[in-house]
Amino acid sequence: MTDMLIEGLYREGEPIADTKAPAGDISQKWTTRQFEAALVNPANRRKLSVIIVGTGLAGAAAGATMGEAGYNVKSFCYQDSPRRAHSIAAQGGINAAKNYKGDGDSVHRLFYDTVKGGDYRSRETNVYRLAEVSANIIDQCVAQGVPFAREYGGLLDNRSFGGVQVSRTFYARGQTGQQLLIGAYQALERQIAAGTVQMYARHEMLELVVVDGVARGIIARDLVTGEIETHLADAVVLASGGYGNVFFLSTNAMGSNVTANWRAHRKGAYFGNPAYTQIHPTCIPQSGEHQSKLTLMSESLRNDGRIWVPKRAEDCDKDPREIPEEDRDYYLERIYPGFGNLVPRDIASRQAKNMCDEGRGVGPEVDGVRRGVYLDFADAIGRLGEEAVRSKYGNLFDMYERITGENPYEVPMRIYPAVHYTMGGLWVDYDLQSTIPGLFVTGEANFSDHGANRLGASALMQGLADGYFVLPNTIRDYLAKGRSRRSARTTPPSSRPTSRSPTGWSGCCRSTAAARWTPSTRPWARSCGRSAAWNAPRRVCARPSTRSASCAPSSGATCGSWAPRTRSTSPWRRPAGWPTSSSWAS
């Protein structure tokens, strides 16, 4: 450990060991932990309060469950209603080791697939637990009235997703995230009506309150009145999502600005694997400077579409239908003949970016670069007929046409990779507690479950697993043992040594408002996102570093290396020849 900046970029931190996971066989750890975690007497739960920031799958599920258990929950979201959280936009589905298809699925297989898909960089204990509770999630959601797709016999339908060989994905058409979130939202609203949960919508967390090294509350701004408020509790849970919007353009919602996580990190919570960003290859490309966000299309399009760019940069202006076959570069089929257009996400994404950086991108020029490649269905339409293609991809084609104004049955679609999900996040232990005692982190906001790459349909699973089943069972240990630390309501205001008191914050906000930023922050965010985040990795990668974990084969298009140093407790053997890294998730 040293205070020196290494390569001018990062500093080695303290080794962190996850001390919460019990010893023993991995399949027994969760049972053991649940038993060993201290209980809180129902009468005492009324005296304990928990702040939950964010109302997505993880936050709403945790809020509802903690409320049902009888704790006093204060729930915060910046949207006008908890139902708007961006979990709602997830399309694909949710994995669960139910083995309803009898195709050999099991808890262990789901665990194995998740760890393998995450490039062996996730924390296996957490993933095993995730796989274990996955089946309970489906039961819970069905009981809440989530209208999953069903077969004619009335039983739940499954599909195969994310390149796995079993059908374990439960879905509700292309709106699984919406249906699951509405289920959790309704459970949360039920607790709001019951009085156990107090909802603070249109509130943005500005700061974490740390008293004597322990998280004791948050400072939040009421986005309607502008008032700065202090909220205290016995524990704080961040369920505030990922940081995809540091790239400015991503598939994240406009308001997902990672403030909560960032403030917690500034207050000392360690951040794990920030480089692990999932880039999704089939997004609708940017059409101009005006663009505010990107929209995802299902990757299933790659099953029948062929990806190409013109061989010569001067052809990029032409009508694609007039470019003859011999002048087209079906680059994925050329470089990866074994996989063709079905190469893994990260490879498809990286190659698309490479083609565009070479100047062979197509579509409108943004900042002097055409960022788009063709996804051509002409072959599929010729082979299967337009009707068959329409029945398979009709919704996606409609969505594409709505956004771009182009008819994909006539001209090839244009696609480009976009930031979609961030596997990294605040470091947590087995109990989902961060390095600040009393600060718990769930869902996409934490770092533990997906390693370097998240499998399809696993984000919803993790959010709900954390919210419904994991956090309520682990936080009780902290709450039970922390009662000696006294309830938040008894803390005298004078003993709140926050780095910036509420009055300090309002002064800061007033001066910011008075400054009347001209020009607005938007161009700044746009240029930072593009040059610092999206384009920078090439520069970093060009200078190979043994510490840069994210130059590994499936880590997406970006690199970075400021994760705190963590010690691996992984029982897994890393495949030979892969770059070793001291910043692996442990």
Partner: protein, 238 residues
Amino acid sequence: MATTTAPAREARTGPPSILLKTVMAVTGLVGIAYLLIHMYGNLMILVGPEAFDEYAHHIRTFGEPMLPEKGLLWIIRVALLASLVLHVWAAATMWRRANAARSQRYVMTRRGYGNFYAKAMRWGGLAILTFIIFHVLHFTTQTVTIGEAHASPAARVLDTFSHWWGVLIYLAAMIFLGLHLLHGFWGGGHDDGAELLAQARRADPVRLHPGDHHHRGGLHDPAVRHPVRASRLRTADL
């Protein structure tokens, strides 16, 4: 902690809107049933004045001797009056609630089925109410006369329709009534009648009102938006 379905708050003001709607539907149907009988009687004028007068007389002696003279007529009159009062009361309450729900009006409102009928049902309804009062004063109490006073109902009818303004009044009333029934009957039908039959409950949302305009085809074609068709497509896709 055991939690149950949250009880209704006691802030309810007046009867439930849906109850008012049911009242409107039931009393409206009573009105429509009467209109059919009324129309049957009116059609007698085409058979001849004698037939018409015969009908007018018969309705007064119908059911004798079980009922006294005009017995049935009074039963009908009381039922109609009660229906009318309830219908108008429910409508006025709904109108008041609608106004209270949007005290600040839009600067610009779409021209279309709903916004037209929102006005047509209420102002048209008031026009019909005025007409009903006039009609009763004219033919029942004969307080108002068009042309000369006649003892024969048929003669009164024929005299009225020999004046252009008599025709105009009744024609205008029929137009208002037609508009009122067009939405009232079919709209009510959605609610309380055929709509709940199995095949009707998946009616195309866009095609519910044939008069409404559609957006241009292709992507926004109503067929594409049809929830059931869309679901089949999507399910096949998955």
